[in-house]
Structure formats: structure tokens, C-alpha cells
């Protein structure tokens, strides 16, 4: 009996869990969890299929992480949620836990969390207690990496896209808006920037012609599970691809149609083919409306590593659709063919069960969607 797919829909006012049948043709939607709380990310542990974590915050009471071991029937708050060191000179306090990533397959119980402002935290007990990754949070240059308040996203800087190399539990990537992408090969003790070749249009060119080593704005970074030396990045300044052997990010978004551009939030890779990826472009011109360009939403996909891109919009609204898809709300599943899911700022979920060839609405009338994650298959 195939395991059904589950979609975890984290919204501005709660979490909903959707469950499908085996071929994803019928879905049921749960009652809301955490109604009234802002949910930023909910992720089911693929290693045990049981541990479900939800990063949320109540307007008055601040951020926390909740944990369920029974599919969301009951939840328990973390005994010690992510928090910066009391009394630290920079005076940081976690505003919200933005990102959750399960650790390496060989390290059951290990999770990572990324926060706003930018901080990295680790749990070794399945999300019950969290400790700061001091090598990152307290790095003497960290304040230079992230810049000032003027360098952050509108609702605060974020650490996201925590990636663990499937070949090596000590090899980590994190990305920050703002700050750029960083890499550790010693489980977070030391870090180095990994931004060579990434566009950084919002700052003036350096006089000596050199690149900024950090300060970039990756919106979402993914690693291909079958070829972990290939990374893709949807950046504030375009779509990039990195093959570690080449050492520099390549702006493959330059091949996107000029009238659409290559600005967006999320990016998805095909679970088997490292040359295939999907993005959801948004309008990054003028006042940066962050809506679908011209009110005509579409996904763009590449099958040749970004050398060319094709529009996919069958079934999507053809005009006057001014929503967008946030960085955590464009996800793919492990089905064959891959299912693609779009969580909209207008509270709808759209899906494609044929790798973007056509789309259909799945759920409507939800609050603004912050994040999706999908489990199963």
C-alpha cells in the first residue's frame, strides 16, 4: 500500500495538514492547528516518518517550536526553543523561527533551525531542546555578513535553506537574506562564504573590480539529492546554478525571457534529474511589487541546467492574478511524475501532478501561505 502524500501548509494564521490518496487525485484538509498563530514552517522528519515540527509564533508571546509525534493530533512545545545567548553584546533575540531542516540520515534526532534575525540552532533530541551553533552565531564577522537593518527583508533578516550534504553530516550550507550563502565542513564550527559569481546588483561595484564576498540575498537555495555538488539558487538578483567543481555560481536566469526576468523567491529541483528545475518568477521591477509579472502567473522550468527555460501556465489564471509564491511555498514531492505545489499569498494551494504541464487549484480560502512542505512517496 503506497504511503499517501502529506502537505503541511504553514500560514499567517495557523497550520493545515492535507493528505492525499496514492495517486494524488483526492485530498482531504485537516482542521486548523495553532489557529491564530503565525506558522512559518512545518516539516515531517523523513527519517522516522513520525516527528513533525512546526515553527510558530503567537503575536504576543513570541517564537517557539512545537512537536507532534502523532500526526498533529497532539502537540508539545519545545522545552528550550531556539534563543540567542542572554546578555550577548549584540542583544539579539529571536523574532521568529523561520526554517526547519532535518539533519543527516545517519544522525536521527538532529535538526537545524534558522531564525530571524539570522541565527543557526541545532537540536539533537528531535526538536525538544535547541542550542545555538556558536561557530556561526558568534562568529566575529557575522555582523558584517548580515549587515544592518537596511540590508534585511521587510520583516527582518532570515537564515534559511539549511542544507546537509547527503554524503557527509559535517558538511552544511546555510543561506541568509541578507548575507549570502555560507558553507561549513566541520558541523558548524567554522564557516566560509560561497558567493563567487552571484549577482549583487543592489550595491555599487567595488572600485578594484573584485566581488563582494558576502552580503548577497539568496532567496532560496537547494542541493540536488543525487548530485550534491550541484546547487541551485533563486536570488534577489536572479537564478543561479553552482557546480562545485567549477567553483563559481553561474547566472542561468539570463536565459529567461526578458519581459519576465529571473527574479523570484522559490526554486525546486527534480528529485532524479539534476538538470531540471522550476521557478516562479515575480515582478522585481520599479517598486518591487513581488507579484506575478503582469498579473499572469506562470512557472518556468528548465531541462538543460538552465540553458533554456519554458513557460508552464496551463490551468493557472490568465490575467488579473496578482499573487505570488513565497520562498518556502514552492515545493516538489518525490512522486513519479513529480508533483509541484504552489502556496499563494492569497491563501490558495495549486498543484500539478505532471511536473508543471498543467495546474489545478487544490485548496482555497486559507490565510496567506508562508510555507509548504510535502512528505510521502
Amino acid at each position: 500500500m503506497p504511503v499517501p502524500f502529506q502537505l503541511f501548509i504553514a500560514t499567517r494564521k495557523g497550520l493545515w495538514i492535507a493528505t492525499s490518496n496514492a495517486d494524488r487525485s483526492a485530498w482531504s484538509l485537516s482542521a486548523p492547528h495553532f489557529l491564530g498563530k503565525q506558522c512559518h514552517h512545518a516539516v515531517l522528519d523523513p527519517r522516522d516518518g513520525v516527528t513533525l515540527l512546526c515553527a510558530n509564533r503567537q503575536w504576543h508571546l513570541g517564537p517557539t517550536v512545537h512537536r507532534s509525534l502523532d500526526g498533529g493530533l497532539t502537540w508539545k512545545e519545545a522545552a528550550s526553543p531556539p534563543r540567542f545567548t542572554t546578555g550577548e553584546a549584540r542583544g539579539r533575540a529571536v523574532d521568529h523561527v523561520f526554517w526547519l531542516s532535518p539533519g543527516h540520515a545517519s544522525e536521527p534526532g538532529v535538526w537545524y533551525a534558522g531564525t530571524s534575525p539570522q541565527g543557526l540552532f541545532r537540536s539533537e533530541d528531535g526538536g525538544v531542546t535547541w542550542v545555538a551553533v556558536a561557530g556561526f552565531n558568534d562568529h566575529p564577522d557575522q555582523h558584517r555578513w548580515v549587515g544592518s537593518d537596511k540590508d534585511q527583508t521587510p520583516d527582518g533578516g532570515k537564515l534559511h535553506s539549511i542544507l546537509v550534504d547527503p554524503r557527509d553530516p559535517a558538511h552544511l550550507y546555510v543561506s541568509m537574506s541578507g548575507g549570502g550563502t555560507f558553507e561549513s565542513t566541520d558541523r558548524g564550527e567554522t564557516w566560509a562564504p560561497l558567493n563567487a559569481g552571484v549577482s549583487l546588483d543592489m550595491y555599487p561595484p567595488k572600485e578594484d573590480g573584485s566581488e563582494y564576498p558576502y552580503g548577497h540575498d539568496p532567496h532560496c537555495v537547494v542541493l540536488h539529492p543525487k548530485n550534491p555538488d550541484r546547487l541551485w539558487q533563486q536570488n534577489h538578483c536572479g537564478i543561479h546554478r553552482l557546480d562545485r567543481g567549477e567553483g563559481r555560481w553561474l547566472r542561468v536566469g539570463r536565459a529567461m525571457p526578458e519581459e519576465v526576468g529571473d527574479i523570484g523567491f522559490g526554486i525546486v529541483v527534480h528529485p532524479e534529474d539534476p538538470d531540471r528545475a522550476w521557478v516562479f518568477p515575480m515582478d522585481g521591477g520599479g517598486d518591487w511589487p513581488r507579484t506575478s509579472p503582469s498579473g499572469r502567473p506562470a512557472v518556468y522550468t528548465t531541462a538543460d541546467g538552465g540553458a533554456s527555460w519554458q513557460r508552464q501556465d496551463a490551468g493557472l489564471p490568465t490575467e488579473q492574478a496578482w499573487w505570488t509564491v513565497k520562498r518556502q511555498a514552492l515545493v516538489g514531492d518525490l512522486g513519479a511524475p513529480m508533483g509541484l505545489y504552489l502556496g499563494l499569498t492569497s491563501g490558495e494551494v495549486w498543484t500539478s501532478v505532471n511536473e508543471g504541464a498543467s495546474f489545478a487549484p487544490l485548496f482555497r480560502h486559507l490565510p496567506q501561505i508562508h510555507a509548504l512542505s510535502v512528505a510521502g512517496a
Binding site: 491564530g36 503575536w59 504576543h60 508571546l61 522545552a79 540567542f84 545567548t85 542583544g91 533575540a93
Partner: protein
């Protein structure tokens, strides 16, 4: 000093639904720490990790708005914790 603490609806999940509880402490900060011992998780939702009262929480000690955790707690004090207008 023992104080009577009025708990807003948002925090009653930590007090087992009680709207009013008792805590002991010489200062406002000590009072919150005692509340946390009695009701684990309570303190961190009133103040952040830098001991700043959270943005949308108001504390009234003896009828006066208070944000200084070093503020002394007089005998028989009343602490009102209020969830300020917030949300959207």
C-alpha cells in the same frame, strides 16, 4: 514577596487555564522566574532572551506600567500581565 498575578488569556495555556496565580519574588524579574518554575515556559513568553518585555506584552505592577525587571515587588503586590492590542 508574594504577589497576585493576573494572567491574560494568551498565557493561560501555561497556567492550566488559571486567570489568577500567586508567585514569589523580591523583584519583577524574580517574580517572573518563580512563575516559570511553577509554570514552565511562562517567562520566555513574557520577556525575550535579553530580558526585554515582549513588544505586545504590558506589565502593570501596583497599577503602574513597568518594564524594569529590577523593579522591587512590595508586599501584597499585584502584577497584571496584559496582551496588548496586536495582530491583524
Amino acid at each position: 514577596m508574594e504577589a497576585r498575578v493576573c494572567v491574560p488569556t494568551q498565557l493561560r495555556v501555561y497556567t492550566g487555564g488559571k486567570a489568577e496565580v500567586v508567585a514569589v519574588g523580591e523583584t519583577l524579574g524574580a517574580l517572573l522566574s518563580d512563575l516559570d518554575r511553577r509554570y514552565p515556559g511562562f517567562r520566555r513568553h513574557v520577556v525575550d532572551e535579553q530580558d526585554r518585555v515582549r513588544r505586545h506584552i504590558l506589565l502593570y505592577l501596583q497599577g503602574e506600567r513597568e518594564e524594569d525587571l529590577a523593579a522591587p515587588v512590595p508586599p501584597g503586590a499585584e502584577l497584571f500581565i496584559i496582551g496588548a492590542l496586536s495582530g491583524g
